[in-house]
């Protein structure tokens, strides 16, 4: 059979199997095994355990459980609330300080955790009730946190960027840097919308400035400074050429655990076990998808599907921006249904050669792809963050959360468009710090 037709059949079969409700990783294994069995014979199944093991046999992957532990140990404390409180106390000159502080805290927390749902939960648990108490509209309170939480996968360290780096064999350090300014751009857009929306709702008085004494400003610092120092330490270690992302992440994880224990008195074995259990659950889930997606991409390339698709796209004589538009729509749709990690693992190895052939920068593309995945996190039907918000603020209806999030989706689309016109937003920092990419 023509590999391209076969590719189409594989795509349909994959959608069909994944929509059955089987777990994503097992589903990918089933699809891979069936197609290998039919087109490569029984002997090809023998290789499955070796490929599965081999895909995990990578030191770079170690950074995933490490960053997850880092995020989970901070998320188990009230550090999220401390972060936005500290920001609010210092940002008294800014109108709407609370929502601005919450978004800022999301960005900072994202810089420690690498995970979107974790960011959402850590800041939202205290931030949403506080914003509502002070009269911010429910839609803004829920939407800003849902959207702010998505920054977790864009602002470094980011688990999705690590996965992209591994799937495409690009530099994880460079990917991290590429996410910084687009992340800040998004935070800015989110803030502008939140303030405008609150003002338009006639809640102008809640935007009024509050004042804090210097004493209040300083007394909160001991609780947030250690985390800020860890962020700086992690960045220094990674870009000062001291250590690899995995090594840095391990130190970060240990420090965050210790800080949670010392400053937030997270002593009890039960509380520590909760952190460890949640980290194990998330790490195992992600690593298993990575291993299964590795088997899946092995199947695609051993049946020559990957190569055939790349060749076929090459023969299509389309404008590179039309191509980029189509790819974006494809990613967006995939992101509506599948977790970011799964989309990246399945799509990146196929898309990357096409992207490079069309003259796009792979690091720039990583950012665009990640923002697409962020949109998926706050849009139905998957919208993991929407459910996290629903879980921490059960009395806000899912409809309000949803309608509150839609404007933030628009902000992300604007960010993607800006990135298309000004790719430097993403690639300037990595080029400046690490030299031009080859």
């Amino acid at each position: 059979m023509d590999p391209l037709t076969l590719g189409g059949i594989v795509a349909i079969a994959t959608v069909f199997v994944l929509f059955s409700g089987i777990s994503v990783a097992t589903g990918l294994l089933v699809v891979s095994a069936v197609f290998l069995l039919i087109f490569d014979g029984l002997r090809s199944l023998e290789l499955l355990p070796e490929i599965l093991f081999g895909k995990l046999d990578n030191f770079a992957l170690l950074s995933i459980p490490m960053f997850i532990i880092m995020g989970a140990s901070i998320a188990s404390t009230r550090a999220g609330a401390d972060l936005y409180e500290a920001l609010e106390r210092w940002l008294t000159r800014v109108p709407g300080g609370l929502v601005v502080s919450n978004l800022g805290a999301c960005a900072l927390f994202a810089a420690m955790s690498g995970s979107s749902p974790a960011t959402c939960a850590a800041i939202g648990k205290m931030g949403i009730p506080e914003m509502r108490k002070r009269g911010y509209p429910d839609g803004v309170a829920a939407g800003s946190i849902a959207a702010g939480g998505t920054l977790g996968i864009l602002i470094p360290p980011s688990v999705t960027m690590i996965v992209y780096g591994i799937a495409t064999e690009t530099s994880i350090g460079r990917l991290f840097l590429a996410g910084v300014f687009p992340g800040l751009l998004l935070v800015g857009l989110f803030m502008i919308w939140s303030l405008y929306s609150t003002w338009r709702h006639g809640s102008a008085e809640v935007l009024a400035k509050r004042s804090y004494t210097w004493r209040q400003r300083f007394e909160i610092m001991p609780r947030v400074l250690p985390f800020l120092l860890i962020i700086l330490g992690v960045l220094y270690a990674m870009y000062g050429g001291v250590a690899t992302p995995s090594e840095t992440a391990a130190v970060g994880a240990l420090l965050c655990l210790l800080i949670a224990m010392i400053i937030y008195r997270l002593w009890s074995p039960a509380a520590l076990w909760t952190v460890l259990r949640d980290s194990t659950r998330e790490s195992v889930m992600i690593l298993f998808i990575i291993a299964a997606a590795g088997v899946f991409s092995y199947m695609l390339s051993s049946l020559f599907i990957t190569q055939a698709i790349a060749e076929w796209i090459g023969t299509l004589d389309v404008n590179r921006w039309v191509l980029m538009g189509v790819i974006n729509i494809f990613l967006l749709v995939a992101g509506f249904f599948l977790p970011p990690v799964a989309v990246i693992l399945m799509a990146a190895p196929i898309l990357l050669p096409i992207i490079i052939a069309a003259g796009f920068d792979p690091y720039w593309f990583a950012v665009v792809l990640t923002i697409n995945m962020e949109i998926g996190l706050i849009s139905p039907p998957v919208g993991l963050n929407l459910y996290v918000i629903n879980g921490i603020a059960p009395d806000i209806s899912l409809k309000t959360i949803l309608s509150g999030s839609i404007p933030y989706v628009a902000c992300m689309v604007i960010a993607i468009i800006l990135l298309c016109f000004f790719p430097e937003i993403a690639v300037w920092l990595p080029n400046a710090v690490m030299g031009a990419a080859i």
Partner: protein, 183 residues
């Protein structure tokens, strides 16, 4: 929706088989979690040796990667028990109760068969390394059957947990896909 239920755990009712499997999955999960924690500590130790003591490290990199792989494989049954493997449950939610249950049975059976195949070849993969006494081609030269052991053990426990889920579903102890309520 690719949902992550954060607070659900597979129910066992009074079924002794389900209880035994639950205990095995929990044990496996604890081992996985401690492997991850150990990997954190060993990596930190490695950094200390390399950057503070300025000595070279021999076994750490390989060791922590094997710990992570073992944690992943041994964590599978536990994460299945915690309902932590993400899935797309859009279709199951839309289906009526009876069809949802049928679909749940089919997906569990698919998973069990898949894991059965993986266990079979996974055992071969391990046995080959063990009988031929393969060693990794690094300075440390670890006997490969040790890290490879996680493959058959983790997968067989995962398969057992899937079988237990199927039993719980058929006996009405668990709701199909863990979805509450009628649609």
């Amino acid at each position: 929706m690719a949902t992550l239920n954060t607070n659900s755990v597979a129910q066992t009712g009074n079924n002794p088989f389900l209880k035994v499997v639950a205990a095995l999955s929990n044990l496996s999960g604890w081992i996985a979690a401690s492997f991850i924690l150990l990997a954190v500590c060993v990596t930190c130790q490695m950094i200390f040796v390399r950057f503070v003591l300025n000595q070279s490290t021999i076994w750490q990199t390989e060791f922590v990667v094997y710990l992570m792989i073992a944690a992943t494989l041994l964590g599978l049954p536990y994460v299945q028990r915690l309902r932590g493997h993400v899935n797309v449950d859009l279709l199951p939610i839309m289906l009526p109760q009876a069809a949802r249950k049928t679909l749940a049975v089919i997906t569990l059976l698919l998973g069990i068969v898949m894991m059965g195949i993986m266990v079979f070849y996974g055992f071969e993969f391990w046995y080959e390394a063990w009988s031929r006494n393969w060693r990794s081609d690094t300075v440390w030269g670890v006997r490969l059957w040790i890290p490879y052991l996680a493959m058959p053990v983790g997968l067989i426990l995962y398969m057992l947990q899937l079988i237990a889920d199927l039993v719980a579903l058929l006996q009405g102890i668990e709701k199909p896909f863990g979805i509450e309520g009628e649609t």
